[in-house]
C-alpha cells in the first residue's frame, strides 16, 4: 500500500516535470503533496502530515499559481 502511494507520487512528479502546461504541472505537484501528506499520516507522522498539507499543498500551490499567472503558462513555445 505504502509502495503504491509512493509510486503514485513518483508518477505525479514526473508528470509535473514533463507536462507542457505549467498549470497542470502545479496541480500534479500539489496532488503529489496531498499524497505525501496521506502517506505521512499512514506512517504515523501526523505533525509532518499537517505541515505538508498546509505548506506543500497550500502555500506552495498558491505561490506557483501566482507565478504562472504573472508569467507564462506554457513551457517552451
Amino acid at each position: 500500500m505504502i509502495e503504491f502511494v509512493i509510486a503514485l507520487a513518483c508518477a505525479g512528479s514526473a508528470y509535473a516535470l514533463l507536462s507542457k502546461d505549467l498549470l497542470h504541472g502545479t496541480i500534479a505537484l500539489s496532488a503529489t503533496s496531498v499524497l505525501s501528506a496521506l502517506l505521512f499520516f499512514m506512517l504515523r507522522a501526523p505533525d509532518v502530515a499537517i505541515t505538508e498539507a498546509a505548506v506543500g499543498a497550500g502555500v506552495s500551490t498558491i505561490i506557483f499559481v501566482w507565478a504562472i499567472r504573472e508569467t507564462d503558462r506554457k513551457d517552451g513555445r
Binding site: 505533525d47 509532518v48 499537517i50 505541515t51 502555500v59 501566482w66 499567472r69
Partner: protein, 260 residues
C-alpha cells in the same frame, strides 16, 4: 532548439546516473534504524519539556535553536520575495521598502482582478468563512504541545484565514472596518511580523529559559502555579503569529498584484 533539448536531456541523464551511484549505496542497504533517541524521549520528553507531543518536544524544546534558524529562513525568504514583488510593482520607487510599497499599492484596481479570478459568491463565502478558519488556526497553534500541529502549522492556517479576509473584504466581510481599512492590512501585518519575530528572538535568547524557570519558581512561591509547558506555548504562539503574518503578507501582495 531541438539540439539544445537533446543535450539537456543527455546531461540530465548523466547527472541522474552519477548521483544515483553516490546516493543509492546510502539509501538502499537495510540498516536497522537507531532506537536510542526514541527511547530516551519516551522516558524523559514529557517531564523535561512538558509537551506530550514528542515532535513538539524536540521541535520547540530540545532543538528550538534549529527552529529559530528555520523561522529566520522563512523571514529572509518572505521578506526577499515581498520586496522583489513590491519593487516590480512600482519600479520608479526602487529601493523602496516592502512594507511601505505594499501600503502604497494597497489593492490598486482590485475590480478587474476580481472579475477574472473571483466571483462575488466566492468573495462573500470567503469573508464568512474567515472567522472559522482563524479559530481553527488558533486551536492548532495553541494545542501543538499535546496534539499534532503547532505554531508553524497554525500560522499557515491563520494566514489562509487572513487571505480569506482580504478576499472577503471586497464584498463587505468582517475585515471592512473603515473605508481604508487597516486591520490585517499590509502595514499591520508587517508590524505584527516584526514584533512576533522580536518575541521569538527574545524567547530563544540563551538566558531566557533559565529566566523562565526562575519566574516559575517565583510564581509558585506566591502560590500561582505556571505549568512547564507554558514556555512552549508562548514559543508556539509567537511562531504562529510570525508565520501567519509573514505568509499572509506575501499572499496579500500577490493577490494585490496585477499583470500587465
Amino acid at each position: 532548439m531541438r539540439r539544445a533539448d537533446i543535450a539537456g536531456t543527455l546531461a540530465g541523464i548523466v547527472v541522474a546516473i552519477l548521483s544515483c551511484a553516490v546516493v543509492a549505496p546510502v539509501l538502499l542497504p537495510d540498516v536497522p534504524w537507531p532506537e536510542a533517541a526514541r527511547d530516551l524521549l519516551a522516558a524523559r520528553g514529557l517531564g523535561e519539556t512538558g509537551a506530550s507531543n514528542l515532535v513538539s518536544a524536540i521541535y520547540l524544546g530540545y532543538r528550538a535553536f534549529d527552529t529559530l534558524g528555520e523561522t529566520i529562513v522563512l523571514l529572509a525568504a518572505l521578506a526577499g520575495a515581498v520586496s522583489l514583488i513590491g519593487a516590480a510593482r512600482d519600479t520608479p520607487l526602487h529601493g523602496e521598502e516592502a512594507g511601505v510599497a505594499a501600503d502604497r499599492g494597497d489593492y490598486r484596481g482590485p475590480a478587474d482582478k476580481r472579475r477574472r479570478l473571483h466571483t462575488e459568491i466566492m468573495d462573500s463565502i470567503a469573508g464568512k468563512l474567515a472567522p472559522i478558519v482563524l479559530l481553527f488556526g488558533a486551536y492548532v497553534m495553541l494545542y501543538g504541545h499535546s496534539s499534532p500541529g503547532g505554531g508553524f502549522q497554525g500560522g499557515v492556517v491563520i494566514a489562509s484565514g487572513v487571505i480569506f479576509i482580504a478576499i472577503g473584504r471586497r464584498s463587505g466581510g468582517i475585515g471592512r472596518i473603515g473605508p481604508r481599512l487597516t486591520v490585517f492590512g499590509p502595514r499591520a501585518l508587517s508590524r505584527m511580523e516584526a514584533s512576533a519575530f522580536a518575541a521569538i528572538v527574545l524567547l530563544s535568547f540563551p538566558v531566557s529559559i533559565s529566566a523562565f524557570e526562575g519566574l516559575r519558581a517565583g510564581a509558585s512561591a506566591v502560590g500561582v502555579s505556571v505549568p512547564a509547558v507554558s514556555y512552549i506555548v508562548a514559543l508556539n504562539v509567537s511562531i504562529g503569529l510570525k508565520v501567519g503574518s509573514g505568509v499572509a503578507l506575501m499572499c496579500v501582495m500577490m493577490l494585490g498584484g496585477e499583470s500587465e
